[in-house]
Structure formats: C-alpha cells, structure tokens
C-alpha cells in the first residue's frame, strides 16, 4: 500500500483542510495530515512545494484588470431595455423620443440587426439578438442604448416607448406538456434544429437512456419504490457581473468579454452580425468567476452592433439585478419521478425515471444537459435494466443552462435520497446498500460502458471511514452520505509552446482562466516535459487572435484537453532542444535528457548545456516553437442503440467517482440546518496540482451548501423572479463555511487527460446537497423532497410531514409570503 499524502499544512497554513491522496491499491484512507504532523514519515515523498498562481500577485494588488476596468478613449456606455414581463406581445416599439435625448448615440432593436435565429450548439435555433414581436422571459433584450454616460444610457432606455399585450405566462412544466397548452414558441415547427432532436410543442428536446426491459423487470421485482423529487431554479452568481466592451477598427471588432468560452462567443458574434470570424477578436481580461454562467454567447453581439452604430467603443456592465434575470444560464428547475425495482436483499434490478427540465424561454444547451441528467439518475450503480427519459420543456422563465455540473446536483440529490429510501425499505444501512450496488472495476454502465477501477467503492469507504472518526454525535446532530459520478469532457484544444532567446518559456493557448487556476497550472505540465520550473513560463491566454482553439472553461475540461495539447507541444520542443543539444554535446539524442534547465547526457553530469545557450543558438536558425493539439481520447465503448436524443453523452468519458459525507446540526424548532463538516472523497484519476484540486473541493462544497439550503429562485404567479438581488438571494458567507477535508483517490483513466487525470472542477458540487438531505432524514425521520431544503421546508416536513414535492404542480418556488422567512432565516449571515 503506497499512500501519497499531500501536506496541505505545508502548502498553505495549517488546518485549511486536510487532503491526502491514495493510490489505487490503497485499502483505506490515511489519516489526514494536520498541523501537528510537522515531519513527513521517512518513507513518503517530500511535500509538494507551494504553488503560487502566476496571476495571483496582480489579483492581490488590484492591478488585475477585469473587463469593466478596461479604459478606452471616447468610451460610450450601454444599457439594455429588458422586457420586465414574462410573456407578452410587443404591440408597438417607438425609440423616437429616446433618440432625441442628450448624449444618446445609438439605439438598436431587432429591426437594426440581421434577422438571424441562433441557438447553443445549434440544438434549437429559437433566438434572435433582440426580441422579435414577442418577449418570452423577463430578462429578454428588447432594445439597447449607447450614450456618453451611464446615466444618459439609462435615461435613453427609460424613454423607449413599448406597448405590450400581456400573455399568460407558461410556468408549469407538466401543464406545458399537455395537448392544447399555450406555446412558448408557436412557430417552433419552422425552427432549425439538431438532427438528433425533434422539438415540438413546448418540448425543446427529449433524450433517453435505455438498457434492457426495465418495465418488465420492475413488474417482476419483489419490491418497487416510486418517488418524486422537485428542485427549484438557482443561479451561478459569479461575483463579477457580465461585462462586454466592443471596439471597432475598420471592419474588425475586438470584443472584450467576461466570457468563459471565447471561441464560442466569437463564432456567435460573427454569426449574428453576418461577418467572417476572422474579423471578430474576443479577448477576456481577467475573469471574475463564471461557474458556467458565463458560458455561451450572451451580450457580445448586442455590444458589437451598438459600437458599430455609435462609432466608438461601447461598454456594457450588467447590474446585479440584470445578472439574475438576463443571462441564459441558470440552474434548472427539475422534476424527477424515479421508480426502482429491488430484490429482497436490496440488489437493484431495474430503474425507470422521467426527468422534467425547465429550460426556460430558449433551449440554450438544455437538450444535451437532459441527456446528462438521465445518466446521473442512473448513476454509478449496477442496474441491469434502465429506462430513463429527460424532457427539456419551454417555459417563460430565464433560460437554464450549463451552470457548474449542470443537472448533476439536483439529479444526485434526488437519486441519492432515493437510494437511502430503498436501503431503509430492505433494512440495510446506507453504506451497506451502496456497497451492494455501486459499480466495481469491469462492471457495465447504463449504456454498457465498462467501468475502470474501484473508485466508486474506494471513495465511499474513505469518506465513511473519515466521518466516523469525528466526535460522537450530539443532540440534533447527524451524518449523511451520497455517492455519484461525473464525466470528463474530451474535446479538441490547441496550444503553442516556445522557448524565448534567454531560455525562458511561453505557452500560448486559447484556453480560458475563469479563476480555478487550470490555465495558471499549465506550466506545471510543460515544465515537467522540459526539465524547467513552472515559474520559467509565461502564459498568453484567452485571446482568440493569438491562441489556438479551445472549448473554454466549461465541462471541467481545461486541464483535461488543453493540458494534453501543452504536453504534446512541449514534447516537440523537447525534441527540438535535444537535437540542438546532440550537436552541441556531440552525443546521441537517445542519450540525452532535459533536467534543471539543461540538456545533458544521462549519467554524465558534466556533459550538459543550458537551455538558455541552446535558445541563443536556435534563434540563429530553427525556432524552438511547437504546436500541440492531441486528438481527444475516445469515448468508452458503449451501446446506445436503444437511446434517442443522442447528443454526445451516451457514455461518460473518464468518469470521476466521488462520495461526500457530511455532519449537520439541525434545529427542529426552526428547521435550520447547519453543516459543520464535509468530507469529500474523489477519484480524480491523478492529482496534477494539489492546491488547485483542493481549491475546487472547498469552493465547490460551499457553493453546493448554498444550493442545498439557501439558494432558490422565488417566482410570482406573473413569472417574475422575486428575489433577484443579493439582498434576497443569499449565498453562504465566512460565518457559515464548514470544516472541509478532501481525500483524493488516484485511479488513472486509460482514456483520461494528462497522466490519466479526470475532470475536477464540477464533481465537488454534485453530491453535497444529497448528503445533507440524507443527514436531515437521519436526524428527523422525515424526508424533504424539495430543493433548496430551506428552513421553512425542513420545518414543514417535520411538523406536517409535507415533503414539498407536491408543490411541483404549482409554479416553481414557494409562495411570496414565504419570501421574508426565506431571506431572514437559514444559515445566513450572523
């Protein structure tokens, strides 16, 4: 057994969190390292040195410029006219008076831009840049104003005269599916769409995961449990609101945007303006967090069009209220009906499920996220027969989309509670039930992919072992666990690596740094290949004019994909360096290695030449420059022949397995749940940068805790968000953050990223809410089947037995009268 603990105490300061890494042959978790363990055991490798992110100093000193900080001579300011109503016909739209106001430079409506319908990934082409005739959610852009000052832009927006005829908002996903329901998109039959989808009525997409004959297996099962779980819409809430500045030079536009996906933003900007992509440059300055909310194309097209009309650079910065209602990326409201057939001993025989995803007014990327949700409801469990259907349903809400591990937290929260219910039904404890049913190495997944490694079991055992080492439970305290999986996202990605004339290095990449540190950690990979230090490299990044294509900071993919590209480029530079060194040292390339900034003959420490000297030589002739763009690893072999709505997630590539164990304290008189400890055990394939991986765990868990107990959007019957501000939509604060310990298990994936690694950014947010839900039941004996599990809902479940799921037939969100309780209660600020 070879344990590889990461000494967080050495990396940072004591007790931030204990983390340790287990190799795949480990049988159990080592005790986490604490401040008291000053010396590593002699048989273990030295601690990883502190890793300081290259953008850190600029961020610590205020020098780091974010999009809204960028200065431009003659800058004008944009403001959007948003609909402010959920569903209405535009009877008239008159900008005459607004145009006459002082300082107003340009006003645009759909009449001023190409009549072009677009949609994320081409799933459903249901959108135009500005509203055409109808507004379908409160944040829909009706017009945009550019003016000399922000105040004049706001005055311009206020002076635009719009007459609306209100239409009844479509808010109930089940009613929206019924024949005869009013339609969000009456002309949907005329929209272009992905050939794997058949949008019709209020249905944007339908995906299924089917294996065997689940209906027959359930009919024959001795025990069948059927349940409903309902999750409310929530928000990514990056602290930096969306910001875009567009600046034209001749027929080219540079768009400075707070986007997580510069290349997708460029493509869509070019598309809606009907200009070639090479005339659009998208640059991300520093990005103030995204969490998926800044994926996709949002306002780049509006601002570029405004700047062209105003003939000067134009900046748009969303207000916090606009940030809640306008960007089409919120966490899905979801209804999960799940039915599982069990053998008498607790072995799962079959599962049927139907998932209703509220995709809001426009499809965005929800259709593919439905397919992911279906895979999540199957989970990393041995289930011989599966029949799961996910329906993406239009409503008049802000469009949903790819918020951190999209659909994962809600689906895991539903199915891992379901598993505890199943366990109780057959008299097994939650751990025993999972031991019986979680996948082992070689087992088959819901579409018959073969699982690699025992990560599902190792993470379960590690988390359970560690949480049980805590103090005995006191009054009101309880423990809950939840397991799950998430995919890695193989995709095309490119990078250049070059050596400058002084021997220092540079990585030029199209990848996007959203804050996780994934781009900042790329030098670790290049340095390993080239025998250099990470700090020897500079990084040029997130600029579509300089870096090769990358899919952006979505799907936990930066290290997975761009890391492979950087390694490939670095290996080519290594080949170039060794060829030069072979001449300089009069040696065979095969005998050379790169170490400590030098090329040298293996075993002969005196025969070496520095990379700096080689670089000087190189610029007299061949360049030390290479590109990398490794082919993405293949998806696992699988059989999806029975599935429909196939959009690329018929299998989960290099899946990350995990288990979270939580300890909570619950006050039954108020329903307030306080989470005091969270253990994360995660099979990440291979840890490449321990501080970076740990930062994803601590941050993901706290975001998940917010989603679990506080964060949910409250809607009025008019379809408008009632808590679209940070005053009413509470995030966790320092006062609430629990103790978090991270355990990493290493089972390198054969089709993984660098060194067999798997995605790490999204997994930590997936199972926490589920573990808390199970802890709530352990403490109270009742179940809360409504997310977020607010104090009101927990209290109601305890006092009346109402689990909250019946509210599913009403509009999402509790009554407005509950608003005050929601805002004032909870584990919020002290």
């Amino acid at each position: 057994m070879q344990a590889r603990p990461i000494r967080i105490a050495d990396l940072v300061s004591p007790r931030i969190a204990a983390a340790h890494i287990l190799d795949q042959d480990d049988e159990e978790a080592e005790a986490p390292v604490t401040e008291n363990d000053q010396q590593p055991p002699a048989d273990l490798p030295a601690p990883t040195p502190p890793w300081i992110r290259a953008d850190g100093q600029a961020k610590a000193t205020g020098q780091a410029r974010y999009t809204a900080d960028l200065a431009f001579p003659g800058l004008a300011h944009a403001r959007l006219l948003l609909a402010g109503r959920a569903h209405a016909r535009i009877v008239s739209l008159d900008t005459t008076r607004a145009r006459s106001l002082p300082g107003v430079l340009a006003i645009l409506t759909q009449d001023d831009v190409p009549e072009h319908r677009y949609g994320s990934f081409g799933y459903v082409l249901d959108r135009t840049l500005f509203a055409r005739d109808v507004v379908r959610f409160e944040g829909e852009v009706v017009a945009a104003v550019a003016a000399l000052t922000p105040e004049q832009a706001a005055a311009g927006v206020a002076a635009i005269e719009v007459e609306y005829e209100d239409l009844p908002p479509i808010l109930d996903v089940e009613a929206a599916l019924r024949p005869g329901s009013p339609l969000v998109h009456p002309a949907i039959d005329t929209y272009g769409h992905d050939p794997n989808l058949e949008p019709a009525g209020n249905l944007a997409g339908r995906s299924t995961i089917v294996k065997g004959d689940a209906a027959a297996a359930i009919a024959a099962a001795p025990i069948v449990v059927r349940e409903r779980y309902v999750a409310d819409m929530a928000h990514p809430v990056p602290i930096e609101p969306h910001a875009v500045t567009a600046d034209w030079s001749g027929d080219r536009v540079t768009v400075f945007s707070s986007t997580q996906v510069p290349f997708a933003a460029r493509s869509r900007t070019a598309e809606v303006l009907e200009i070639p992509e090479h005339r659009v440059r998208v640059v991300v300055s520093h990005l103030g967090g995204g969490f998926g909310g800044k994926c996709d194309f949002h306002f780049e097209g509006h601002v570029a069009a405004l700047a062209r009309a105003a003939r000067r650079p134009v900046r748009l910065v969303l207000t916090r209220h606009e940030e809640f209602i306008a960007p089409d990326k919120v966490t899905h409201g979801m209804v999960v009906d799940v039915e599982t057939g069990l053998d008498a001993d607790g072995t799962i025989l079959a599962r049927k499920a139907r998932i209703l995803l509220d995709c809001g007014a426009y499809a965005s990327d929800t259709p593919v996220l439905g397919q992911i949700a279906a895979m999540m409801i199957a989970g990393p469990y041995r289930i011989p027969a599966v029949d799961i259907e996910a329906l993406s349903i239009y409503t008049n809400r802000t469009p949903s989309g790819s918020v951190r591990a999209p659909t994962g937290p809600q689906a895991c929260w539903a199915v891992e509670q379901h598993h505890d219910v199943l366990a109780a039904r057959v008299g097994l404890d939650p751990v025993a039930f999972r031991r019986l049913n979680l996948v082992h190495d070689g087992d088959e997944g819901p579409t018959r992919q073969r699982h690699e490694g025992d990560g599902a079991h190792q993470t379960l055992e590690a988390a359970v072992d560690r949480i049980q080492q805590g103090e005995p439970l006191g009054p009101g305290e309880s423990i809950g666990i939840a397991a799950g999986w998430w995919f890695s996202a193989p995709g095309p990605s490119g990078a250049f690596v070059r050596i400058e004339s002084d021997g220092s290095g540079r990585i030029v990449t199209g990848a996007q740094e959203n804050g996780t540190g994934a781009v900042m950690a790329l030098p670790i990979l290049a340095a390993e290949e080239l025998g250099m230090r990470p700090e020897d490299f500079a990084i040029t990044y997130q600029d579509t004019d300089t870096g090769p294509y990358d899919g952006g900071s979505s799907g936990s993919q930066t290290t997975f994909n761009n890391g492979r590209a950087v390694i490939e480029a670095a290996r080519e530079v290594k080949r170039q360096l060794l060829e030069l060194a072979a001449v300089a040292l009069e040696a065979n390339v095969a005998d050379l290695e790169l170490r400590d900034g030098h090329a040298g003959v293996v075993g002969s420490p005196d025969r070496r030449v520095s990379i700096a000297e080689l670089a000087t030589t190189a610029h007299g002739g061949a360049l030390l420059l290479a590109r990398g763009s490794g082919m993405p690893p293949d998806a696992p072999e699988h059989d999806a022949s029975a599935c429909v709505g196939r959009l690329g997630f018929e299998s989960f590539a290099a899946p990350t397995f995990f288990c979270h164990a939580v300890r909570i304290r619950l006050d039954p008189a108020t329903g307030i749940v306080r989470t005091t400890k969270v253990i994360t055990a995660t099979d990440v394939g291979r840890v490449l940068n321990a501080p970076g991986a740990l930062g994803q765990m601590t941050g993901g868990v706290v975001m998940a805790l917010g989603n679990a107990t506080l964060e949910g959007t409250v809607f009025g019957a008019d379809g408008l968000q009632r808590n679209a501000s940070l005053l009413d939509y509470k995030l966790l604060t320092t006062a609430d953050a629990p103790e978090i310990e991270a355990i990493f298990i290493e089972n390198p994936a054969s089709n993984g990223g660098p060194r067999g690694s798997k995605g790490v950014g999204e997994p930590p947010i997936v199972p926490t809410a589920a573990a808390i839900a199970n802890a709530i039941t352990a403490a109270t004996g009742v179940r809360v089947r409504r997310l977020p599990m607010t104090p009101e809902r927990v209290w109601r479940a305890i006092t009346t037995g109402d689990d909250g799921a019946a509210e599913a037939n009403a509009p999402f969100g509790p009554s407005e009268t509950a608003l005050a309780e929601l805002a004032g209660a909870g584990t919020g600020r002290r």
């Binding site: 953008d55 850190g56 610590a60 103030g288 601590t698 940070l726 320092t734 953050a737």
Partner: protein, 169 residues
C-alpha cells in the same frame, strides 16, 4: 452642481469635481482610475467595493463621495509597500485564498480592518469580520486561514505592520 472633492487615496492627495449623488466607488473607479476596487452588486451585499475611510471599512458603492472630503481612503492598491506585498496579500497568495480574484480587493480590506481591531483574532472573530464579503470560488476556508496566518506573521514582527489609511509599508 458638481463640487470639488479633496481626499487622500492610498497616501496620495487627489481631487475631483463630483456630483453630490455620486458614490465613492464611482469616483475611485471612473474619475480617479483606481479600478482595483470592484463593483459586484451596488447594494452593500457583496463587499467587493470595500475600502477604508479613516481606517473604518465601508462599502464604497453605498458611500457618497462627498462624505469622503478631507478623509484618508485606503484601497487594495495601497496595501503593498515599496518593500513588497503586505503579509495579508502574501498569505492570500500562498494559501489558496485567491481564485478568480474579484472578491479579493474587498476581502483584503475587510481583513486589514479586522486585524487593526484585533491583531490576535480568533477564527470566530475573523469569520464575523469577513461575513460581509462574498466569495464564490474558494469556500472561504483558505481565506480565513490566510488571515490567521498573516496575523501571526505580523505579530511576530517579521512582516509589514498594518498601517491602515496610509497604506502598508
């Protein structure tokens, strides 16, 4: 009518003609080019705009600029001294307290204020002192630990003392 505002920002006397309704945050960012201080909500909820006014932490998004007349303002840009980073900045950097960095300016200022109030703070005191600053990336623990770490370093005297309104160093 705009009025002349004179104040000291990070040790430098500055002036601007300011409309009475204009906030300190707008004046710092738009009129004086001090964009280190961020705007996250314009609602005193996120803390990204936190600055010290005569040593007291305020959300500059909700503080009228003219109230700052004659006062000393400390922003994140005044923290590092000529001899290097403030111990808080170093601790944030080394301890994983910075990811996207957007909350960092306000978080550092709140941390500075709480250390001035109590140079030997308990973890509880730090948690309360930073509860007005939202961070969506780190999960807070690295930040809390970084403040503890910096406090210890500053007490040991091998760091730059927190000097408040005149900036570190």
């Amino acid at each position: 009518m705009p009025e002349l505002l004179r104040m000291t920002v990070d040790g430098l006397p500055l002036s601007a003609f300011v409309d009475p309704g204009r906030t300190l945050l707008r004046v710092l960012r738009d009129d004086l080019g001090r964009t280190g201080t961020k705007e996250g909500c314009d609602d005193s909820e996120c803390g990204a705009c936190m600055v010290l006014v005569d040593g007291q932490p305020v959300n500059s998004c909700s503080y009228l600029a003219l109230q700052a007349a004659g006062r000393e303002i400390t922003t994140v840009e005044g923290l590092a001294g000529a001899d290097g980073l403030h111990p808080l900045q170093r601790a944030f950097l080394e301890g994983g307290g910075i990811q996207c960095g957007f909350c960092t300016p306000g978080m550092l200022i709140s941390a500075l204020a709480l250390l001035q109030a109590d140079p030997d703070p308990s973890e509880e005191f730090i948690r309360d002192g930073l509860a007005g600053n939202l961070c969506r990336c780190t999960g807070y623990q690295p930040i809390i630990q970084a403040v503890l770490h910096a406090a210890a370093e500053m007490r040991a005297g091998d760091g730059v003392p927190a000097t408040g309104s005149s900036g570190g160093g």
